[in-house]
């Protein structure tokens, strides 16, 4: 249950982190642009009131200017024509300067079509057609049919395709006609109500109640009163209401401050005439304009079926409001998403321990994937992105290449920048890097790779070769690659040159390349030969090192005088000589040491013989006083101890210089221990200590010298009996773990021991102040004898528990 809960927590922690991070990154750029924008502007752009936007003010100013143009019958009522679209066809109105028909601006319209039937319809309306290249769903047959039906000249399509749209202008007529057509379209949008009065006469309006009065005199009318009651028009704009050429604007019944300090600057809110530095001419002062904007613009669709189907007011105020709503929704969505993202990331921080576990698990999973696909993926994902998101860039690049132009750094920067700012790119890049870092961190050192086994097998194959062969092989490999590269490169240069005309510079270049190639080959061959020699010497050197390791200290390594490794060989020879000398010296000094000890012990033994003999004689004297008998007893004990000590010193010194003769034979360690215990039974009884044994019945066969090993265990048991806390127990166990026989003797020390002391050192005793008892050689002899027999001897002290472990390799 607990592990299940843990697992769930790990999964949740990572999911939370993943979703949070992805949300944050996906909205990161939106957030940056939101933070970076002017707060007032931002507020107006996403506010509830679309009329607060600068777009709205600009739109209204443009409408005023347009209507002023219409009122004065001037030529500037429309710069670029009304652009409105119907499903599939976009109509354009524009004017052009027609030199043939006098100094007249003529009006024309054209349509842009993408479907065959629309092309047809556009021809029906006698409009010129631009077939949008690449997108027109028009086959050769269809075009031929259209061409036949309308009698279009053959070169038209080419002209159209060549981008000269508007070549077949459909001239609507003179300016008056164009204006009427234009205003007819204009009136359709009921979100914008207007009235245009010029010289006191109402010219145009789209307010139904005022329409009957078109063409009549109208003095200072209350325009607001004519507005249809069913719609709410909260924004009104008057021009020249009082004949002063100024604009009044009211919103929700309140007048706005239009002019501020009366001087127009770039910062001014309203681009309308009436500033001290923005006045109108005299004829314009005869115009009175009223414009009202709906509080909630609607979409108006007119079913113009007799002419061209439905026409809508797509664009204008309605769209402006739609755009604002869309922006607001997006803004709110971003805000929410960021909030959720931050909350999730906070949760992830709280669950960071579990997340770390998840990271580890993912890292381990990534470790199972081969390295090569991972690398490809790592390089590939950005490439894929480049091909999808960066298609434009590539097309541009191809176009530029084909055209023979080179892209400037500025353009390149622009396209790359556009790529980088994509939120999806940012998110993808982040997760790629995150997983990459995770993989690197968790799977340090143990990469699973496709090429790995191949390289590995090559390496093991190489390891079987000697050093010199290995070096030669590696060098040859490099040489072969270099030659191949040289040949290929020369061929490439030749190809390049042969494609072009021959000029002296190219000739010189080619010759130099060939010369360089020859130099490379010569240098390579020379290098290869030298390396071969070096490899041979190196092999000899490593063989020599091996020989020294084997113990051959007399044969010297002779290399040619000019060999690279000559000095190394000399050094090695000197080391070898030094070792030989040192070894000789050491052997000599060991031998001398043993001889010295033997002589000294001999010299001690002779007087000791006298002491022992006379003590014995004294013991046999019958009429000695009691106290003298006691002295003699002590003398006897001490001389006996001295005797054993001299013998021990002799044996230890022999063992220490590896001169102890051992007679190795097969024996049963268990039996040896039982025999030793039986042999020492009396001593054990006398000590008052209990010896607990655990020795397997089955034989534990080892190779050792029985006599020596008996001394080892005799010493160990004696030691235990002598230094144990009285009344405590001595534990002797023999265990057999298959390959090693381990004998263990544990006892509780009677005195506190210092665990920094090596008890197997000669003359070391647990209690330095002790004057009776052992010579301090017991453990030393035990260790020496054990090691001489090929076993290991270990002393451990844990508080008062003194443990000696003797190990021997088992034989079958």
């Amino acid at each position: 249950m607990d592990t299940k809960w843990r697992k769930l927590r790990i999964i949740v922690s990572f999911t939370v982190f993943f979703v949070g991070m992805t949300l944050l990154l996906a909205n990161f750029l939106s957030m940056v642009s939101l933070i970076g924008s002017n707060p007032d502007r931002l507020k107006s752009r996403i506010g509830a009131d679309y009329q607060e936007q600068s777009d709205f003010r600009q739109y209204m100013s443009s409408r005023l200017e347009e209507l002023l143009g219409v009122a004065t019958g001037g030529k500037g009522w429309n710069n670029y024509g009304v652009v409105y679209s119907d499903d599939g066809i976009t109509y354009y109105y524009d004017r052009y300067y027609d030199g043939y028909y006098g100094d007249e601006w003529r009006w024309y319209s054209w349509a842009e079509a993408t479907e065959a039937q629309e092309v047809e319809r556009a021809f029906d309306e006698e409009l010129s057609v631009e077939v949008v290249e690449g997108e027109a769903d028009i086959s050769k047959e269809e075009w031929d049919e259209i061409q036949r039906e309308y009698g279009i000249p053959d070169d038209t399509l080419d002209a159209i395709r060549g981008g000269e749209y508007g070549t077949k202008r459909n001239v609507i007529g003179d300016q008056k006609e164009a204006l009427e057509a234009y205003m007819k379209e204009y009136a359709r949008d009921k979100n914008l109500r207007y009235a245009v009065i010029y010289q006191g006469k109402l010219l145009y309006t789209n307010m139904e109640q005022l329409e009957p009065k078109v063409g009549e005199e109208l003095q200072n009318p209350d325009f607001q009163g004519y507005l249809p009651a069913e719609e709410e028009y909260n924004f009104c704009m008057w021009f020249n209401e009082k004949g002063d050429g100024k604009v009044r604007i009211s919103k929700d019944g309140e007048d706005l401050d239009v002019y501020g300090d009366g001087v127009y600057t770039e910062d001014s809110l309203w681009y309308v005439p009436g500033y001290t530095n923005f006045s109108v001419d005299e004829s314009t002062k005869d115009a009175v304009i009223f414009i009202a904007a709906a509080k909630h613009p609607k979409l108006y669709i007119t079913g113009n079926y007799s002419e061209s189907g439905t026409v809508s007011n797509w664009g204008g105020l309605y769209q402006m409001q739609q755009r604002q709503t869309y922006r607001r929704e997006r803004y709110l969505a971003v805000k929410w998403k960021l909030g959720i993202a931050l909350f999730l990331l906070f949760l992830a921080v709280l669950l960071r321990k579990d997340k770390r576990q998840a990271d580890k698990a993912i890292g381990r999973f990534l470790g199972h994937i081969w390295l090569e696909p991972k690398c490809l993926l790592f390089a590939g994902i950005p490439l894929v992105f480049l091909f999808t998101g960066g298609k434009d860039l590539l097309q541009e690049l191809i176009w530029i290449y084909e055209d023979g132009w080179y892209m400037g750094a500025e353009e390149l920067g622009f396209y790359v920048g556009r790529l980088m700012t994509g939120s999806s790119f940012l998110t993808a890049a982040f997760w790629m890097v995150y997983l990459g870092v995770l993989d690197l961190r968790i799977n340090k050192g143990n990469r699973k790779s496709l090429l790995g086994p191949v390289i590995g097998s090559m390496r093991t194959k190489e390891l079987k070769l000697s050093v010199q062969k290995r070096m030669v092989e590696r060098n040859s490999r490099v040489f072969v690659f270099a030659v191949l590269f040289g040949v290929f490169f020369t061929f490439l240069v030749y190809l390049t040159c042969s494609h072009f005309y021959w000029d002296p510079l190219r000739m010189v270049l080619l010759i130099f390349t060939v010369l360089w190639g020859i130099c490379l080959i010569v240098a390579g061959v020379w290098n290869l030969r030298k390396n071969k020699e070096l490899a041979r010497d190196l092999g000899a050197l490593s063989d020599q090192i091996g020989a020294i390791r084997e113990g051959n200290l007399t044969e010297r390594l002779i290399l040619p005088e000019d060999a690279d490794l000559q000095s190394a060989a000399e050094n090695l020879n000197e080391i070898q000589q030094g070792m030989e000398t040192a070894l000789r010296e050491q052997t000599k000094s060991e031998r001398m040491k043993v001889e010295l000890v033997a002589n000294v012990s001999h010299d001690i033994k002779t007087p000791l013989t006298s002491i022992v003999s006379y003590v014995e004689l004294l013991k046999q004297e019958e009429d000695l006083p009691e106290h003298v008998k006691e002295y003699v007893q002590i003398l006897g004990e001490k001389s006996e101890r001295l005797r054993t000590m001299v013998q021990d010193v002799f044996e230890v010194s022999k063992a220490a210089s590896n001169q102890l003769p051992v007679n190795l034979e097969r024996l049963d360690l268990g039996k040896l221990l039982r025999q030793t215990l039986a042999d020492m039974n009396v001593q054990i009884m006398e000590s008052g200590l209990a010896v607990r044994t655990r020795i397997p019945e089955a034989p534990v066969m080892i190779m050792a010298d029985g006599q020596r090993l008996y001394r080892v265990f005799q010493n160990l048991i004696q030691n235990a009996l002598k230094y144990s806390l009285s009344g405590s127990r001595v534990f002797l166990t023999l265990t057999d773990d298959g390959s090693v026989a381990v004998a263990n003797i544990k006892n509780t020390s009677g005195v506190e021991l210092d665990d920094n002391v090596d008890f197997t050192e000669r003359f070391v005793r647990g209690d330095e102040s002790r004057t009776d008892g052992g010579s301090g050689l017991g453990l030393s002899i035990a260790r020496s004898f054990t090691e001489a027999c090929g076993g290991t001897f270990k002393v451990e002290l844990n508080a008062d528990l003194f443990t000696v472990t003797v190990e021997f390799p088992k034989i079958s």
Binding site: S610, S613, L617, R674, A678, G706, Y710
Partner: protein, 236 residues
């Protein structure tokens, strides 16, 4: 008895101590302090046994032993401070009958002298009349019919169990018997951990037959394998 024993050592104190010890045992002791002197005394006196040190001035012990052996067939015990096995082998092969390393146990030396002398004097003729039911082994001799063990010709008092052990080991001199086998064949029953029981008996037998029970010559432990009766050459 008043048998004549020659003690040779360059260390006068040792010679004196050995002399005192042997005189207490009732021997007549002659003393010499180097090899030449020893040769002279051997030539002039009826010496029955020689105790000879190895390292001496003028003529060393081993050379002296070789010279004496050319003419006399009497027991010689060599004394030496060298206790290496090689030294012992060298001494014995030069013609010595026994080897005692310094510093020795005086009691042991006395016992050895006694043992050698008894065999040299009273038992000299025994092994001429070889009997099938008598097993000889160095100082020891087991008579099957009597079920009795003799050491240096003197009967050894053994218990029934000890006698059975001695008989088993004497019949198979040199063979190593694991404790289990000894127990099975002597007690005639299965044994659990027989080492202690067997060891107790062996220790008691040693005290009765060995000159120095702490360093046994005959009844030996083969560590990690078992026990055996060492096969000892019959001297004299």
């Amino acid at each position: 008895m008043n048998e004549c024993v020659l003690v040779v050592d360059d260390d006068r104190e040792i010679v004196k101590a050995i002399g005192l010890l042997l005189e207490k045992e009732g021997y007549q002791v002659l003393k010499a302090y180097d090899g030449m002197e020893a040769l002279k005394i051997v030539a002039e006196h009826p010496v029955r046994l020689i105790i000879m040190d190895v390292m001496m001035p003028k003529l060393d012990g081993l050379s002296a032993v070789m010279k004496i052996r050319e003419r006399k067939n009497l027991p010689i015990i060599v004394l030496s401070a060298k206790s290496e096995d090689t030294d012992k082998v060298l001494g014995l092969s030069m013609g010595a009958d026994d080897y005692v390393s310094k510093p020795f146990n005086p009691q042991e030396l006395a016992a050895r002298v006694k043992s050698h002398l008894r065999r040299y004097t009273s038992l000299g003729d025994i092994h001429a009349q070889q009997q099938a039911d008598v097993i000889h082994n160095g100082r020891l001799c087991y008579r099957m019919e009597e079920r009795m063990l003799y050491a240096d010709g003197e009967p050894v008092k053994l218990t029934a169990t000890e006698t059975r052990i001695v008989e088993l080991l004497m019949r198979n001199r040199g063979r190593i018997f694991p404790a289990e086998e000894i127990y099975q064949r002597v007690w005639e029953e299965e044994a659990f951990a027989p080492e202690n029981t067997v060891m107790v008996h062996i220790r008691r037998i040693r005290e009765k037959i060995e000159l120095n029970p702490k360093e046994p010559e005959y009844l030996k432990v083969v560590w990690g394998i078992g026990y055996k009766m060492e096969k000892v050459e019959n001297h004299c």
